[in-house]
Symmetry: D2
Subunit: 346 residues, 4 copies
Amino acid sequence: MLYFNNDYNEICHPAVLKKISESAGLQNPGYGTDSCCARAAELVRKKCAAPNAVVHFLVGGTQTNLTVIAASLRPHQGVIAADSGHVNVHETGAIEATGHKVILVPSRDGKVRPEQAAKIVESQSLSMDAEHIVQPKMVYISNPTEYGTMYSLAELEALSAMCKEKGLYLYVDGARMGYGLAAKGNDATLVDYARLCDAFYIGGTKVGAMFGEIVVIPNPSIAEDFRYLMKQRGGMLAKGWLLGLQFEALFEDDLYLQISAHADKMADQIRTTLADLGYKLYLPGDTNQIFVSLPDTLLAELGKEFTYANWEKADENNTVVRFCTSWATVQENVDKLCNALVHLSK
Amino acid sequence: MLYFNNDYNEICHPAVLKKISESAGLQNPGYGTDSCCARAAELVRKKCAAPNAVVHFLVGGTQTNLTVIAASLRPHQGVIAADSGHVNVHETGAIEATGHKVILVPSRDGKVRPEQAAKIVESQSLSMDAEHIVQPKMVYISNPTEYGTMYSLAELEALSAMCKEKGLYLYVDGARMGYGLAAKGNDATLVDYARLCDAFYIGGTKVGAMFGEIVVIPNPSIAEDFRYLMKQRGGMLAKGWLLGLQFEALFEDDLYLQISAHADKMADQIRTTLADLGYKLYLPGDTNQIFVSLPDTLLAELGKEFTYANWEKADENNTVVRFCTSWATVQENVDKLCNALVHLSK
Amino acid sequence: MLYFNNDYNEICHPAVLKKISESAGLQNPGYGTDSCCARAAELVRKKCAAPNAVVHFLVGGTQTNLTVIAASLRPHQGVIAADSGHVNVHETGAIEATGHKVILVPSRDGKVRPEQAAKIVESQSLSMDAEHIVQPKMVYISNPTEYGTMYSLAELEALSAMCKEKGLYLYVDGARMGYGLAAKGNDATLVDYARLCDAFYIGGTKVGAMFGEIVVIPNPSIAEDFRYLMKQRGGMLAKGWLLGLQFEALFEDDLYLQISAHADKMADQIRTTLADLGYKLYLPGDTNQIFVSLPDTLLAELGKEFTYANWEKADENNTVVRFCTSWATVQENVDKLCNALVHLSK
Amino acid sequence: MLYFNNDYNEICHPAVLKKISESAGLQNPGYGTDSCCARAAELVRKKCAAPNAVVHFLVGGTQTNLTVIAASLRPHQGVIAADSGHVNVHETGAIEATGHKVILVPSRDGKVRPEQAAKIVESQSLSMDAEHIVQPKMVYISNPTEYGTMYSLAELEALSAMCKEKGLYLYVDGARMGYGLAAKGNDATLVDYARLCDAFYIGGTKVGAMFGEIVVIPNPSIAEDFRYLMKQRGGMLAKGWLLGLQFEALFEDDLYLQISAHADKMADQIRTTLADLGYKLYLPGDTNQIFVSLPDTLLAELGKEFTYANWEKADENNTVVRFCTSWATVQENVDKLCNALVHLSK
């Protein structure tokens, strides 16, 4: 079986494993107070041109989202998100379990529009019953989104400006940040994120690491006492240097971007094949995720050799599915998938 | 100024005040362990024909909702509600503050349809990622709804049947229960609620009491240790007999239904006047709340003498407003309002 | 049966009931936005000589404690309290249910000493594992304490100074504030509380009101958005003017202090009687609570006519019990109790 | 610098790293649904002779404790622990952040006595104010304790019997379970834990794994929907097979016990040396932790070459410190430490 259903089905990039293996026998202080984490954080701050940003390393994405949000909000405040946002759909209510409402805006492509968030703020703050309504205080976006779409730099600038105007924090879930940064159509850099966001995370789990996410916090009011929150929420890894080592491996020599670009290129080949066959993408995009509606008969055959993720029924005879490439996807397997798609479409 | 903006702008029915006043000088044990509460609870169980139902008294509606929901759910479970539901819109995230997600279904008239809730359950439980999604465990409805509409008995039966089939609790927020029970079109009784629901509350604050709501819990698994939850959430009144006294006054001799019927009749008069003037009700209904779209010019004049609640802009020149009657509304003031509506519509 | 077991067994002072009764038929806006609350708040600010303090009214003490603490702390912060503190012992974990640890200091007399709290702060902040330990951020005291003892002004000054030095908030639970202010040995005034505390509450439920507590918040960082927290935690009374009315009645003409002084005098008579009979008070004090160890044989007889609260076994044959007087205690009943004590001690 | 301050300062046992490295290039489904986790869980069930126990893998200890406790308790329930318990002292209030009180019993040696817990249950349940007091529902112990002491099998049996009698869950934090199982004086096996506990965890992070803890849940009422809780609290590792692989490596061929025995033996040598030098152990024990009071002058010199953990001041001139060995401790370094102790004690 060849896996195209997600981007976290292989252990890690060889350079990451090598770095970890080489550390065998060395002794380190615990909980991220080691020199590997310090060096990795410094690398990240440099890439972000944000010498004052606070940088921490956490194990997983849900943990990261819930810790950042718990650190940012007072009890009566909520976070605005697209209805398809990971914090709303796929974290078993992790945000609510910290006491906070996820305030939804409808979105077909996974993005939050500035005017949607602004309207929520205005509607709440101008209400005669304002104190009976959750106070919006943060906008959560994922970029790339859960649908593989991207915010352009102009869109990020507009969101950030609206947030500043309305007194909202802007937080970006970058579980697939690498695949976004490396995408053909992308025009935003880590420097932009550090400039426009109050907090964001750069995903490792899906982009070459064994596990791990980098939280970058340019806004000091979110950063204050952040490590207490990490510990309280179970997110402080005892052998924290394992995270530092992995991100050293990924951020020295731009390995992170190189392997992301590879995954995007593999996805482009699949997209081109699908387009040539006349299939319509569910949404445009040029990151490592492809959402497309395919005939159920074709999918039944394809599924014998390849995994993909079922998303939703398109109509009686067709289903929207997701194909995912990753840093680990090999050319040979993509060729096989594309050949199979061609063959089964005849 | 004559108040038609809500149904909690007068202190309480004279019979309630009399009962409280007469208790002056008497001594009672605290926290609802007194004989007044015991008698009131027994009255309620009789009206509900539910000799085994557990009955408690709380001070307010938000407090009641959050306590029942906290008592009912495990941490990963959520409550399904209409997007207009009080727990979603007007409780400052009280439910999320207990750690639970409010799972929304769209609703124009404030009602949850059985098929909407069933679909959420199926979609979650059949998902390959079920454990990543909040588990729906309760359906919250308000009856009458926030829009003054009502579930018929057949609709309640259908909801209850679906809940039983899907393993959901059914909980009814009856902040305005009296106005619903007394409405012309209503065909459900307290006996039906006790038969069909796992928990529900009968509102006092808006229906003749100084304050107070009656929680009725037919389902023993929600009732277990409920008083611990009341205390923990700040909802156990020290002088609990004040609640018992009020509900004795309201439930002896059916005062509760009589004063509710009066309010509904007053509202009917306003509805008829509006219809005669050619205004279109926002939603049908025969309880004490009237939602209607009126010209802004008329509203500006009307507002000099009468209060009403702004709901939402209908279009550029019209606004949906709410008129509310209550147990305290006097015929004379309704006549004045109707006359003013007629006069201003000429 | 004559009740001496607690100070909340009668409905309210006649002046309070009169004020409430006189409001029948008047219409008010809801949720504490009325003019009665505004007037009462202004009265309180004047008594406190704190023109900028934020004043709110809540229904009960547990609700008040949990709301103030939830409004004050970030998730990783805790509140220092005596092990006998109400928030630790008698609120069913209400503070923990808001996510915060109650950090205990041992105390025989119910008081927190400045050096105890200071030591906790130093121990935490200087620890190599500081981030693994809850960060103390607030000191909770009750005054009078749960044992009827009192902090002197000098003790309050010392606590406040320590809190300022260590970056802690000082919060006073004044459920029995009146009985403290009126006690013979007391030398602190409301002006002192407003000057020395970040937040405190003046109890009504146990001191003449039907229900209700006044929260005074001199520190603006706790006051910010406080009404959101009140609503979220179920503590915003719909007919908020009921609270305003009661506190107008109690704070016009110093009724609050007069009725408190009466209760303390009644308690003094019981204390004198017990001393004359050779019984030893469990703790010194001159407020409305008396803790004394009495023979079980005497208590068995006494209990046929009088209620008291069992506190703890003193030894095999004696039990520490609490007698409570209140604003409602009448001279005749105190005489009866004292006579019975004398009679049964022969 | 040679590290004796903790037992998590090296990456992992070579067999663990080998197993992980060999998995490079293989593809696995996510979130612990893979065959490695299934095999590891089966190994654990066999070692425990508990074919029906539910087994899950989590990344860290605090995460494990908070997830198990959140899964076990209703909102008004608390967990009894020794005042030195990890959940009380070193988790930044993680348990309180899930809403639950940690109910403390004093303990010099880190153990909870059955009669201490029984007394709390009786005192709460028999109180006239039972509903005002947190309901104890679980006993948390760590074994070995934070002080390196151990419960004997007889002590575990007694605790378990008391818990069953009182309706309490028994939960064991086994962060250092291996070092306990392998200790000279130990007479309890994993089979005993599975028989006597409702839930327990077998630590990996401190005993040979890169990271990871095994949760074993013999009691089905705690096990229900446990994976939802794991996901919600941020504890479900995306590449869950990394946990399965590690525990396969540790539980095939009893590697886990062998490396634990080695660490205990290394600690025995240090203990013997200290005893020979006339130093008094703070507490008896034969696991991998040694608590001993040493002169500050000696410690100052020792600290130039060796790390140890400061615990508390013993008196003006002496400090209680902790030495820790681990699976990774090499004979040569222990010899150096012992020689230095001898040398500096002359």
